[in-house]
C-alpha cells in the first residue's frame, strides 16, 4: 500500500491535489469545531479557496475564478453581514443534544461509508478530454450557443431572487 502512496505522490499533480485536498478538509473541520461564528466563516472561506485550487488542477480555470469571486467573496461577505445583523452574542454555544449528535455522527459516517464503497467499486473508464486553448472562450462559446436558454433562465432567477430578498428583508413601514 505504501508503495502505491509513494508512487502516487511522485507525480507533481498528485502532490498539489493532496495539498489542496488537505486544506479543504482542514478548513471544513475547523469550521465545524470553532466556537466563534466569525472564525467559522473564515475557515469556510479558506475551504472555498482550496476548492478553487482544485478546479485549476482539473483544468477548469474559469470555474476556479468564479468560485473565488462568488464564494470566497460574495457568499462569505453575505454570511458576515448576516452575522452582523442577527447576532446577540459572539459565541456559538454548544447545544446539549448528545443523543442527537451521536446519531448524527453515526449517520454521517454511515453515509460516507456507503458513498466510499460505491465510489471504490464503480468503474469509470475515462475518455479523452479536449479542454481547448482558452477555457473561458470555450465556456463562452458553449453558453451562448448551446446553453443559452438556461443562461437566460438563470438571469431571470437571479432577478427574482434579489427582488425577493429585498422584499423579505424590507423593514416594515410603521
Amino acid at each position: 500500500m505504501f508503495a502505491n502512496l509513494v508512487q502516487f505522490l511522485s507525480n507533481g499533480t498528485n502532490v498539489a491535489f493532496f495539498v489542496f485536498a488537505l486544506f479543504a478538509i482542514g478548513g471544513a473541520i475547523f469550521m465545524i469545531s470553532f466556537t466563534k461564528v466569525v472564525h467559522m466563516v473564515t475557515a469556510m472561506a479558506f475551504t472555498f479557496l482550496s476548492l478553487a485550487g482544485l478546479y485549476v488542477l482539473l483544468q477548469a480555470e474559469f470555474v476556479a475564478f468564479v468560485q473565488v469571486l462568488i464564494y470566497a467573496g460574495a457568499v462569505s461577505i453575505l454570511m458576515i453581514f448576516g452575522i452582523m445583523l442577527t447576532r446577540h452574542d459572539k459565541e456559538e454555544s454548544q447545544p446539549n443534544r448528545p443523543l442527537h449528535n451521536i446519531l448524527l455522527g453515526i449517520g454521517t459516517v454511515g453515509l460516507f461509508g456507503i458513498l466510499f464503497y460505491a465510489i471504490q467499486n464503480a468503474n469509470f473508464a475515462p475518455g479523452e478530454f479536449h479542454p481547448g486553448e482558452d477555457n473561458t472562450m470555450e465556456i463562452g462559446k458553449l453558453i451562448f450557443n448551446q446553453y443559452v436558454i438556461p443562461f437566460e433562465l438563470m438571469s431571470v432567477l437571479l432577478t427574482v431572487a434579489f427582488i425577493g430578498a429585498i422584499i423579505i428583508a424590507k423593514r416594515e413601514e410603521d
Binding site: 442527537h100 446519531l103 449517520g107 453515509l111 456507503i114
Partner: protein
C-alpha cells in the same frame, strides 16, 4: 289407527314451549293473565297426551318412531333427531302433563301477588317442555340435551327468589351436583357411540347392539354403571343426594313438580329406558339395587328427625326413589315403574298440601305449627290420604306399588327385602309424626290460619283421588299394568307374608307416631334423650354435607383462588406489560416530534441509510 295420534306427539312439548316464549316476550305486560297462557297450553298438552295414551292402550307393542330430521353430519356419521312413542313414554307423558297442569293451577293461588309471576310461569312452561322432550326422545343424544335443559330449569326455579342467599346457594348446589352425575352419563354416551356399529345412538340401535352382543362384556358393565351415575345425580341417590333437600328453597309448587314427580323421576326413567344394557350386565344391576336400597333406608333415617316440613318430604322423595332403583336393580321392571307412577301422584299431593299449610301459617318449621286440622279441612283430609298412600296402607296406591317391590325383593334378595321393610317402618313413622305435629293438637304459635283458595284445593282433591285409586292398575289380582308395560304377561306373585309384614310395618310406624306426637303418651325424647349423639348425627344428615365441603369444596375454592391470582398477576400482568410497552413506545416517539428541522433532517438521513442498505445490501447477505 296405530299412529293417528302418535304421529302428532311432537306437538305435545311444543305447547309449553310456546307458552314459555310468549311469557318471556310479553309476560310483563300480561301480568296475571300470563297464568292462563301457561295453564291453557299445559291443558292442551295434557289432552294430546291422553289421546296418545288411549291409543297406546290398544295393546300393540310396536312403538311409533320418527327420526327423519338430520341434525348433524360428521363425515360419514349422521345424527338424527326425532321422537318415539311407546308404552313407557306414553305413561310418562300422562304423568308429566297431568302433574304440570295441576301445579300450574295451584301456582295461580300460591304465587299470587309475586311481582315476577309471569317469569315463574315461563320457567315452569320451559321445564314442562324440557321434560316432555326428554320423555319422547328418540336417541340418547337428544335425551341428554333435554336432560341438561331440565337441569337448567331446575336451577332457575330453585333460585327463583334469588334475593335470598340460601336460594342462590341451593340452586348452584343442585346444578353442580347433578352435573357430576351428568358427566357419567356423557362418558357412557361416548362409549356407546364408540362401540355401536354405525355410531348410532338411538334406542333401537342400542337395543340391537346389546342383543347381538356386539359390545364387549366389561364395556357393557361400564356403560351401565356410568348411566346409573347420571341417574344417581338426577334422582338424588346416595352419594349425590345432597342437593335435593337444599332444593326446597324453591317455591313449593316447584318442589312438587320437579323434585317429587318429574325431574327426579327422569333418572329412574333413564335406567328403565336403557334397561337392555342393564340386563346384559348383572354386576351393574347389583350396583343399582345396592345403592337404591341403601339410599332408601339412609334417607328415611334422616327424615325422622327433621323439623322443616319440606325437608321431611324431600328426604322421603330420596327414599322412595331409592325404592324405585332397588326395584329396577332386582329385575322388577314393572314394579319400579308402577311405583314411579303412584309416587308422582301422592308425593305431589303431599308437597302441594305442605305448600297450602305454609301459605296459611308462613312458617316451615313443624314445631311451630299445630291444630290446623280444624281450620283447613280440605288440606288436612287430602294430606292424610297422601300420607297413608306413602306409608303403604291398604287400599291406597302406595300399598300396591310398594308391595309389588317388596314381593319381588322377598323372592330375589332377602337382605334388600328387610332393608325395604325397615325403611317402610321409618317412612310411616315420620309421615305420622309430620301429620300429627301439623294438623292435630294445639296451636303452638301465633297465626291466623284459613283454608286455601279453590285454585289450590282443587289440585289437592284431584291428586287425592288419584292417590287413592291409581293403585288398582297393578295388583296381584290384576296384572294388567305389568303386561301392558313390558309386553310379557307378568303375574305378580301374591305373597301373603309380604303383605302382612308390610302392613304391620306401616301400622307400627303410624302407631308409634300417634303415641309420641298425637296422644303424647310416649315422650318424644324417649329415644333421642338416651342417644343424643345419634339424634345429632341424624339431624346433621350424617355430616355428609360437611364432609363434601371439607374434601371437595374447600380445596376447589383454594385452587380457584390460586387460579385467580395467576389470572390477576400473570395474565393481567402480561396484558399490562404489553399496554405499558405500547405507551412507553409512544412516549418515546413523541420526543422525535419536536418541530425542529434538524431532528427531522437527522431522521431523514438515517432513513436514507437504512433504505440504501436495504435495497443494495442484498448482495452481501
Amino acid at each position: 289407527m296405530v299412529s293417528a295420534y302418535s304421529q302428532y306427539a311432537w306437538l305435545i312439548p311444543l305447547f309449553p314451549l310456546l307458552a314459555f316464549l310468549i311469557l318471556i316476550a310479553i309476560g310483563k305486560q300480561l301480568k296475571a293473565f300470563g297464568v292462563y297462557v301457561s295453564v291453557v297450553c299445559t291443558l292442551v298438552s295434557f289432552v294430546l297426551s291422553v289421546l296418545v295414551f288411549i291409543e297406546r292402550l290398544g295393546g300393540n307393542m310396536e312403538g311409533y318412531t320418527w327420526n327423519q330430521f338430520k341434525w348433524l353430519q360428521l363425515g360419514d356419521v349422521n345424527l338424527y333427531m326425532g321422537f318415539e312413542i311407546n308404552n313407557l313414554n306414553a305413561l310418562m307423558l300422562i304423568i308429566v302433563t297431568l302433574v304440570s297442569l295441576l301445579v300450574n293451577i295451584y301456582s295461580k293461588g300460591y304465587m299470587d301477588g309475586d311481582d315476577r309471576i309471569s317469569v315463574f310461569f315461563a320457567y315452569v312452561s320451559l321445564f314442562t317442555f324440557s321434560m316432555l322432550g326428554l320423555v319422547i326422545s328418540e336417541n340418547l343424544l337428544m335425551l341428554y340435551i333435554f336432560w341438561e335443559l331440565v337441569g337448567v330449569c331446575s336451577f332457575l326455579l330453585i333460585g327463583f327468589w334469588f334475593r335470598k342467599p340460601e336460594a342462590k346457594a341451593a340452586a348452584k348446589k343442585a346444578f353442580i351436583v347433578t352435573r357430576i352425575g351428568d358427566v357419567g352419563l356423557f362418558i357412557a354416551m361416548l362409549l356407546l357411540f364408540w362401540y355401536i356399529p354405525g355410531h348410532a345412538l338411538d334406542f333401537a340401535s342400542i337395543h340391537n347392539a346389546v342383543a347381538d352382543q356386539q359390545i364387549p362384556g366389561h364395556i357393557v358393565t361400564w356403560i351401565a354403571i356410568l348411566i346409573f351415575v347420571g341417574a344417581v345425580g338426577k334422582s338424588g341417590q346416595f352419594p349425590l343426594h345432597t342437593w335435593l333437600p337444599d332444593a326446597m328453597e324453591g317455591p313449593t309448587p316447584i318442589s312438587a313438580l320437579i323434585h317429587a314427580a318429574t325431574m327426579v323421576a327422569a333418572g329412574v326413567y333413564l335406567v328403565a329406558r336403557m334397561y337392555d344394557i342393564f340386563l346384559a350386565s348383572p354386576e351393574a344391576l347389583a350396583v343399582v339395587a345396592a345403592i337404591g336400597g341403601f339410599t332408601a333406608i339412609f334417607a328415611a333415617t334422616i327424615g325422622i328427625v327433621q323439623n322443616d316440613i319440606k325437608r321431611i318430604l324431600a328426604y322421603s322423595t330420596v327414599s322412595q326413589l331409592g325404592y324405585m332403583m332397588m326395584a329396577l336393580g332386582i329385575g322388577a321392571y314393572a314394579a319400579g315403574i308402577f311405583h314411579l307412577f303412584t309416587h308422582a301422584f301422592f308425593k305431589a299431593l303431599l308437597f302441594l298440601g305442605a305448600g297450602s299449610v305454609i301459605h296459611a301459617v308462613n312458617t316451615q318449621d313443624i314445631r311451630e305449627m299445630g291444630g290446623l286440622g280444624g281450620k283447613m279441612k280440605v288440606t288436612a283430609w287430602t294430606f292424610a290420604i297422601g300420607a297413608l298412600a306413602l306409608s303403604g296402607i291398604v287400599p291406597f296406591s302406595g300399598f300396591w306399588s310398594k308391595d309389588a317391590i317388596l314381593t319381588e325383593a322377598f323372592h330375589h334378595n332377602q337382605l334388600l327385602f328387610w332393608v325395604g321393610l325397615i325403611a317402610a317402618f321409618f317412612t310411616a313413622f315420620y309421615m305420622s309424626r309430620l301429620f300429627f305435629l301439623v294438623f292435630s293438637g294445639k296451636q303452638r304459635s301465633e297465626y291466623e290460619a284459613h283454608e286455601s283458595p279453590v285454585s289450590m284445593t282443587f289440585p289437592l282433591i284431584v291428586l287425592a283421588v288419584l292417590a287413592a285409586v291409581s293403585g288398582f292398575l297393578f295388583t296381584p289380582f290384576n296384572g294388567w299394568f305389568g303386561s301392558w308395560l313390558t309386553g310379557r304377561t307378568v303375574t305378580e306373585e301374591a305373597s301373603a307374608i309380604v303383605m302382612i309384614l308390610s302392613t304391620l310395618a306401616g301400622l307400627a310406624g303410624i302407631g308409634l307416631g300417634w303415641l309420641m306426637y298425637g296422644k303424647r303418651s310416649v315422650s318424644a325424647e324417649a329415644v333421642s334423650g338416651r342417644f343424643p349423639q345419634l339424634h345429632t348425627l341424624l339431624y346433621r344428615k350424617y355430616y355428609i354435607d360437611e364432609l363434601y365441603d371439607f374434601v371437595f369444596v374447600k380445596p376447589l375454592k383454594k385452587i380457584g383462588r390460586v387460579c385467580h391470582a395467576v389470572d390477576v398477576y400473570l395474565i393481567d400482568g402480561i396484558v399490562r406489560l404489553l399496554t405499558g410497552a405500547g405507551l412507553s413506545l409512544g412516549k418515546f416517539a413523541i420526543r422525535i416530534q419536536n418541530g425542529q428541522v434538524q431532528s427531522y433532517g437527522l431522521i431523514m438521513l438515517l432513513g436514507l441509510l437504512i433504505l440504501a442498505v436495504a435495497l443494495a445490501g442484498r448482495r452481501f447477505i
